[in-house]
């Protein structure tokens, strides 16, 4: 699989709305740059969402968990809507991603505060608070959409559909640093995450500080996911499906799973984006392709190796 990665990435760079083929370095330099940037963005965002997905699934011990489950998507969407409707989004390349990011982090803090019940945060408490806070954020978002101008509505919806075109290389580099650091930090917590999947009590008996681990992992995963969402909007399905696919391929040990998810998720998203911008005359939102590809592929894997899936 590792050998396949550069091959797939090269293919991605060769695909685009202006034609299939590697853009010439001299005459088509900008197009090459555009494509390379999108592929790089896909790698970063895909890695971020997949790693966050792996960690959320481990902490919440739930195969349906994904990075948006604790309100990251609703919070980020609300932040973006606020930035767009108030008009500050056009002020600078950092503004919209920053607003989305900040709102997402606030949302997580709120979810955590609401779910506190004694010593360790309970799983059901977290999920329930996530649902509640998500609902509130979504309603506020819908309210903003309803009172905005048609242009504003168009802009908000367009942002929410998800897009890998960045407005500034600096923003991409910053997000890249955040994501790489965050994913590395999560990988460093692999053995704690492994132990956590056995349940809070068993993890405690194995010598893990359960509460600290959960908070740190949640924080890192949310930071990484929020950074991704701030830049690229709400790209769905990657954070849910890639962890399962990689778990099927390399096993459930997080020391192998997290790096595999990062690479697998990055390549998957880059490939989906390449398809999204090439197959039709108009660019399809990348989230559509991730769902259309990811779902059937996962089903195929499920059928092949029944014993190794979580969902039995």
């Amino acid at each position: 699989m590792m050998a396949l990665t550069p091959f797939i990435l090269t293919l991605c760079v060769m695909m685009g709305p202006s034609g299939i083929g590697m853009p010439d370095l001299n005459t088509d330099r900008e197009i090459l740059m555009l494509r390379l940037t999108r592929v790089l963005c896909g790698l970063i965002i895909g890695a971020a969402l997949s790693c966050a997905g792996v960690v959320f699934q481990a902490i919440l011990r739930n195969p349906l968990a994904e990075p948006y489950i604790l309100g990251v998507s609703s919070g980020a969407g609300l932040g973006a809507a606020i930035a767009i409707v108030t008009g500050i989004a056009a002020a600078g390349a950092y503004v919209l991603p920053l607003c989305a990011f900040v709102m997402a982090v606030i949302t997580l803090a709120l979810v955590y505060a609401l779910s506190r019940n004694g010593d360790s945060p309970s799983i059901y408490g977290l999920i329930l608070s996530g649902v509640i806070v998500s609902a509130v954020c979504s309603s506020l978002l819908m309210f903003m959409v309803s009172v905005s101008s048609i242009e504003g509505m168009h802009s908000i919806l367009w942002w929410m559909l998800g897009n890998l075109e960045v407005s500034s290389n600096n923003v991409l580099m910053l997000i890249g640093v955040v994501v790489v650091t965050g994913c590395f930090g999560l990988w460093a917590m692999s053995r704690e995450l492994n132990a956590l999947t056995l349940g809070h009590h068993m993890a405690h008996h194995l010598g893990i500080q359960v509460k600290v681990t959960i908070i740190t992992a949640l924080l890192l995963a949310t930071l990484v996911a929020s950074a991704a969402v701030g830049v690229a909007g709400l790209i769905g399905f990657v954070g849910l499906i890639v962890p399962h696919i990689m778990r099927n391929l390399v096993g459930a040990d997080h020391r192998r799973l997290i790096p595999a998810a990062a690479i697998g998720g990055g390549v998957f998203l880059a490939a989906c984006d390449a398809l999204a911008r090439t197959i039709l005359a108009v660019e399809i939102p990348v989230g559509v392709i991730t769902a259309l590809l990811g779902g059937p592929f996962f089903l195929f894997l499920l059928k092949r190796r029944r014993t190794q899936s979580w969902l039995d």
Binding site: R191, N194, G199, L206, G207, D312
Partner: protein
Amino acid sequence: MTTAIQLDHVTAKYREHPVLQDISLTINSGEMVGILGPNGAGKSTLFNIVSGLLTPATGTVKLFNADLRQMPPRERAKAIAVVPQELDIPVPYTVEEIVMMGRTVSMGRFAKPTSQDRQAVERAMVYTDVADIRHRHLNELSGGERQRAIVAMVLAQEPRIILMDEATSHLDINHRLEIMQLVERLNRESGVTVLMISHDLQMAAEFSRRLIVLQHGNIVADGIPSMVLTEETLRRVYNCDVRVSQDPQTGGLSILAAPRLPAAAAGKGIQIHAVAGGGCGEATLRRLALCGYTLSCGVVSQGDMDAEIGAVLGAKLALEKPFSPISREALQVAQDLAFKADALVLTPIPFGTGNLPNLELLESALTAGKPVFIASGIGNRDYTPTRQAEKWVQTLIDRGAKPYQDVAELLTLLPAKSG
């Protein structure tokens, strides 16, 4: 002798509700201790306190003379490990991966498993006999194999104390034995201190060298099994009648719960004297007792099964020495009992010359005008040389004793409480 676990005046609460009351306890290294008690006694709470899951409201907990509260989790995991009742693991780990998790705190954060780690895992898997299923996934295994894998994980942790929290409750008898023997071997060979909670009193008695009984958050008994497992203690703690006996074959203690007798019944206040023996009167005695009749029984030999049953049922007994023919003294005791009875029943017992005098009781009763009931089929049960019993029973029937086929019929014939 090092102290493995020391509890001093520990009180534990769950949200202001006290569960353990001022417990002080010392467990030495290498001991194998069973923790018993009814539901709600505080056994699991005790384990939570000792393993650090719950902080005591008052008092101190020390593991190997180090205060548990100050102990960093790493050290604690190296000192004490827990085998849970069952582990619901949704993620599909292989046996080897699960066992490797036991090395969680022993391994470095970024380092790959060292040879030391691998050896510990290998040893653990061999010890628990899961080495040849190491690549199978946990959800494919049987209950016993799963639990063995989990015990292997705990062994790989190389703790000095192991807590087994009803670790065999969900297993079949053979798997249960497997795990217990494994743990016992571990305790014997490596000196690991073991504490086990079990509702299987038998198994706890069998494998523990010391038993601690909890009730309402207090320790009510602490000592060797035969001293702790008395009917008195068990009756008080579990609030039901039990019989403790020693199994002749295995030598192990056998604990049976005796069902409590229902209160109001047809026979309340009526005394029946039953002639029984050899275990043949058992069914009759039980049914009569269930219906509330006050029972007396005799003459039976000491140690006879019907004597034991009668004693359990609370019947007054007229006893004779074992393997002796019925003496006049014993018969007199029986006569006194029969005199107080409202009716007499001859259960379907075999007769020999030894217990023939019992039939005199029936004679006297008939003379006194009391109802007498005789189980039919005496002809098959007469082992006297001249078939005396059969003839005698016939005369009794001629004089007014009523024959009955089975217990059901007997119950319809017996005098019952009116209204």
